[in-house]
Each structure stands twice: as C-alpha cells, then as structure tokens.
C-alpha cells in the first residue's frame, strides 16, 4: 500500500490507520456504525426547516455559487459544452448580479472546449476521469484518463472509486488508486466519487468517506449521477459527519459534493441546512460544498426571480443551456 502523499501530518491514530492493509481494515471497521433509521430521521427532521425571506435569498445565491454545472452525456458536443459554459458565466442574463457557478463538469475530451470558454472567469473546470462512471478499467487507463483531463486544463478531477474492490473488502487497493490518481492530478483538486447508490449501507458510506479522506481526496462526492439512487440527504449527512470528524481530528477542512437528483431549490436548501447544522457554518462555501447538477440551476434562478419580483416566475424566463 502506498503512503498518502497529501496529508503528511496526520495525527498518529490516522497515520497508523494507513500503515498497511490490515490496519486500514481495522480502522474502517472500527468506525462507529450508522443507524439507518436514526440518520434518516435526522435528515427528514432537518428537512422541515423553513427558510424564508432574506435567509432564502442568501441560500439561493449561495447554492448557485456552489453548482458544478454538469453535462455528462454520450451525446455531448463542443456546441453543448460552449452553451453550458455561457450559462455558467452568466446564469441569468437579465440579472447580472447573479453569482457565477463554481465549476462546469464535463468528460475529459470536452475539457479543452470548456477551458477556452471559461478563461479568465474564475470558474473551475472539473472533469470526470478514471473510466467514469463504472471505473472498470486498469489503473493505467485510469491514470492516463486523469492525466489527459489535467493536461487539457481541468482544475478539478472527479474520480470514481473501485466499488467492486471496496465491496469485496480490498480497501488497500481502493486507497492506492486514490493516492495515485491524486498524484496524477498535480495541482488539480480531487473529488472522490463513492457512488453511494452501489455501496448499499450507510456503514459503507462512512467507511468509503474515511477511505477517500485518508487517501487525500479534497472532496468526497456521493454519485456519478448514472446510478440510482444518486445523492440523498441522509447519505450526505453521513458524509458531512465524516468531514466534520476529519476536521476535529486533523484540523483540515475537506469538502462534500452531492451529485445527481437534486433538481429543486427546496431540495438544495435542505442540503444547505444539513451543511450548516451537521458539518457547520464554515462549510457553507463553494470551496467546501458543491452541488453536482444541471437542471437545479434553472430552478434556483426561477426562485431567485420569484423572491425578487414577488410573483412566481416561469421556465420561459430563464435560459436553457
């Protein structure tokens, strides 16, 4: 097992955890369990928070600034990516004060186009890599995939973990892959996609979260968007607990990105409430929390217009991308 290169100053307990395969297994299996009913209840409970007026406006703008505007289709073209980039730059042409989104997220072969379109905007270019979405290829291919995207100018890499290896208990292998992809990223930020829909239990989500953090992921991300269920509130709770606990133990701040299935402002606000109350207020920033989404942005914009105008808006008043 390769030692992680990103966290040279891990506290002794965590440094111990990544010493070898057996230690890693012991550590992950020694994490406190997650009670399904309890975490779902807490998520549902927080979901009843009623966010109104100024706090809602703040939430909408914050959510917009956290969007990784995403297109990950086989049918993607340069034209589609250019149009997405335009949307990212100016989400609502009628309202120039709308914050820009955090990043656009595309396949590696579209990175170059996105880079061209977004130069100078401060918007990050994220690319999925590592044989996304299944991750079923050789490490060599995954590393080349990563290098390809980084060379094309991606500033953020969204990798997938090997769920097969994880579910069969080969944690060291998963760990090593993340470490090597992180290395291949260079200065690019690494988001580690757990694909929680395939991990089946919250206990596994917690273990995979810690695995991703131990291996040096800057973000842990729920899903590819290609597997159902994608992001859910309780899964995100578990991941937020992981980054909070990571911070308690190491002092480092790591991020969380739910992706897939978050389509409405109402949903997004529930996620922000969870970020606020489970991880803490300091996570309410695009550097530590992102939404992987496409249709969400327009709903946020419509709601933003509704808030400002005092009447309901309609889809014809926001742009499609």
């Amino acid at each position: 097992m390769a030692a992680p290169s990103t966290s040279p100053s891990l506290p002794p307990a965590l440094a111990d955890a990544v010493r070898d395969d057996a230690s890693l297994r012991r550590f992950l299996h020694g994490l406190p369990g997650v009670d399904q009913v309890g975490v779902e209840q807490r998520a549902a409970g927080l979901g009843t928070r009623s966010i109104k007026k100024a706090s809602k406006q703040w939430a909408i703008d914050t959510a917009i600034s956290m969007v990784d505007l995403t297109t990950l289709e086989g049918a993607d073209t340069h034209g589609k990516v250019r149009s997405l980039a335009a949307k990212a730059r100016r989400p609502d042409p009628d309202h120039p004060d709308v914050p820009r989104v955090a990043a656009v997220c595309v396949y590696p072969d579209m990175v170059e186009t996105a880079v061209e379109e977004l130069r100078g905007t401060g918007i990050d270019i994220a690319s999925v890599a590592t044989a996304f979405p299944s991750g079923r290829s050789s490490l060599k291919v995954k590393l080349e995939d990563t290098a390809y995207a980084v060379d094309a100018g991606a500033t953020e890499i969204d990798m997938v973990i090997d769920r097969g290896a994880f579910l069969s208990g080969r944690y060291g292998q998963v760990f090593d892959e993340i470490v090597q992809v992180k290395h291949a990223c260079g200065d690019a930020h690494l988001k580690v996609i757990l694909e929680t829909g395939e991990l089946a239990t919250y206990d596994n989500v917690r273990r995979a979260s810690w695995l991703g953090l131990l291996a040096g992921g800057d973000f842990i991300k729920t899903s590819t968007g290609k597997v159902s269920p994608a992001a859910t509130l309780p899964v995100t709770h578990v991941m937020l607990q992981a980054v909070r606990d990571w911070h308690t133990q190491t002092g480092e701040l790591r991020g969380v990105k739910p992706a897939g299935g978050i389509r409405t402002t109402k949903d997004a606000i529930k996620y922000l409430v969870a970020v606020h109350e489970v991880a803490g207020p300091e996570w309410l920033t695009p550097t530590l929390f992102r939404f992987g989404a496409s249709t969400l942005l327009n709903d946020l914009l419509m709601q933003r217009r509704t808030q400002l105008a005092g009447h309901y808006s309609g889809p014809d008043y926001v742009t499609v991308d």
Partner: protein, 288 residues
C-alpha cells in the same frame, strides 16, 4: 410396636430464605382446631421477621425471575409431586384447621394440588398470552413482554388454609416474583407444612417466605416496606384494608384488593397472574 406410642409432635416455625427459624421475637401462639382444641404452637412472626423475609425475597428475585420459564415450570411441578406425597398430612391439617369432614378436606387438598399444577404449567405460556409484537407506525420492531413485579407481600386468605393459600401464592411465583406470605392467622398449619414441601423441592430458598402470626401486626410493616413492590390484600382484616392501601401508596405499590368471599374452588382465570406483572415494551429500529 406399642399401641400407645407417644407421637413426636412438630414445631411449627417460620420459613425465611430457605431456613426454618423461630420468630426472632421468641414469641409463639397457640393454634386450635375448629372446636377450640389445642393443635400446636405456631411462631408469632414480628416486624423484624417480616424485614428478614423481605430481604430474603429480594435476594432470591434476580435468580428466580432470571431462570427460564421452563425451569420455573419444572421446579413448580416438582413441588406438586412432593405435595402429592403429603396428601394425608395436608388433609388431616386442613380438616383440623377448617373443621371440615375428612372427605371434604381431602377434596380441598386435591384441588389445591391440581391448582398448583395448573399454575406450574403457566410459567412458559404467560409471555405468549400476555405479550405482544406491537405493529407500530414506523420502521421499528416493538414488542411487549410481561415481567414480574418483584417482591410481593401476600396476605393469605384467613379461611381457606391450603387451597386459598396455594391459589394466591402459586400465581405470584409462577411469573417470577418472589413472595413474603403471611398465613391465615388462625389456620396456619397447612402453610407451615407447605413450607416444608417447598424446602424439600427444588424451589430456591427465599422465593417463598412464610410468616405465621398476627396478620394485623405484620401486614402494616409489609405494606409500608419500601423494598416490597406489591401487596395482595386477600387475607387482610377488613378493618385494616384501607390503612394498608394507604401505606402501600407510599412507594406506589401495586395492590390486589380483597374480593368479598372469594371462592377458591372455581376456575381461577388470569387475574392473579396479571396482578403482579409489569409490561415492558422494547423498541428497536429496523434498518440495514
């Protein structure tokens, strides 16, 4: 063998914690038959004997309530076997104490033994009949089980010296309670003999403790004792019942009130089993 053999008479003592002490007070009182003829001296239990009996019952509670229901059933059935072997002796004592003809006494003894067997069979059925799985509206498994209340002070019926006694004691211990029994004041002999049966069966010491003496003297100490959980007033003197209930309220004891002229020959039903049971409801989430 000489026809004029002088019988060895029995000393009737208390039964506490599996032992047969005399009353710590050193007192005894004469027990007479229905015609006023002297039968024996019985130990006249005191408040300190009651205190010792409660301590013995409390000590025995964990083991007895923690035993499997099957085991309790076996032990109680064993008691019935030993009872059966003493039919003649019980019949003679019941006849003497209650002043009934020998045949009637025999039938009362038989009914008492059968009653004991009936309750012995309940030990491993009570939880099935009185427990439940609760279909709660949520992702939880919820179940309710009956559990013994604890130490039960039983004031045994004054009239029915064996059948009544067994009808009030057996349901208390069948469900895992331990008992401090104050016997019929004037008809205590079958109760003492029952103690000897219990002592020579497999019943752990302290599960049943038997005090003879003046009910009105001992009962208030049991009713107010903070380590007694429940009180059966069946044999309480009518004039004392309200006061005993009031005393029991001091620690919120469960009180089984006396029923007017309770007939112990009929079908007993579940009321006495239920009277000294708590229901415990346990919840656990259902999830992966």
């Amino acid at each position: 063998m000489s026809e004029n053999r002088i019988a060895v008479t029995k000393t009737y003592k208390l039964y506490i914690g599996g032992a047969f002490p005399r009353s710590e007070s050193g007192r005894s009182y004469p027990v007479v038959d229905a015609n006023g003829g002297f039968l024996a001296n019985a130990a006249q239990g005191s408040r300190k004997d009651a205190r010792d009996a409660v301590a013995a019952a409390r000590k025995a509670f964990a083991g007895w309530s923690g035993a499997t229901a099957y085991n309790r059933g076996q032990v109680l059935f064993r008691v019935a076997e030993v009872l059966e072997g003493r039919r003649e002796q019980f019949a003679a004592e019941v006849a003497a104490c209650e002043g009934v003809p020998a045949k009637k006494a025999q039938s009362l003894v038989d009914a008492a033994i059968d009653r004991w067997v009936w309750y012995a069979g309940w030990t491993d059925k009570v939880a099935t009949v009185l427990g439940a799985s609760n279909p709660v509206a949520g992702p939880y498994f919820s179940f309710s089980v009956p559990e013994p209340t604890g130490v039960v002070a039983v004031l045994a019926p004054q009239e029915s010296s064996l059948l009544g006694l067994i009808s009030v004691v057996a349901p208390v211990i069948a469900t895992g309670n331990t008992a401090v029994v104050v016997t019929s004041q004037d008809r205590p002999l079958p109760a003492v003999t029952l103690s000897e049966v219990l002592a020579t069966s497999d019943l752990p010491g302290g599960v049943v403790n038997v005090l003879t003496g003046r009910t009105a003297e001992i009962a208030p100490w049991l009713a107010s004792h903070a380590d007694v959980n429940a009180l059966d007033l069946t044999g309480a003197p009518e004039s004392a019942r309200a006061d005993l209930e009031r005393a029991a309220a001091g620690t919120v004891k469960r009180v089984l009130r006396a029923r007017p002229a309770e007939d112990f020959t009929g079908e007993p039903g579940l009321a006495r089993l239920r009277a000294f049971l708590e229901t415990k409801t346990v919840w656990h989430p259902i999830g992966v």
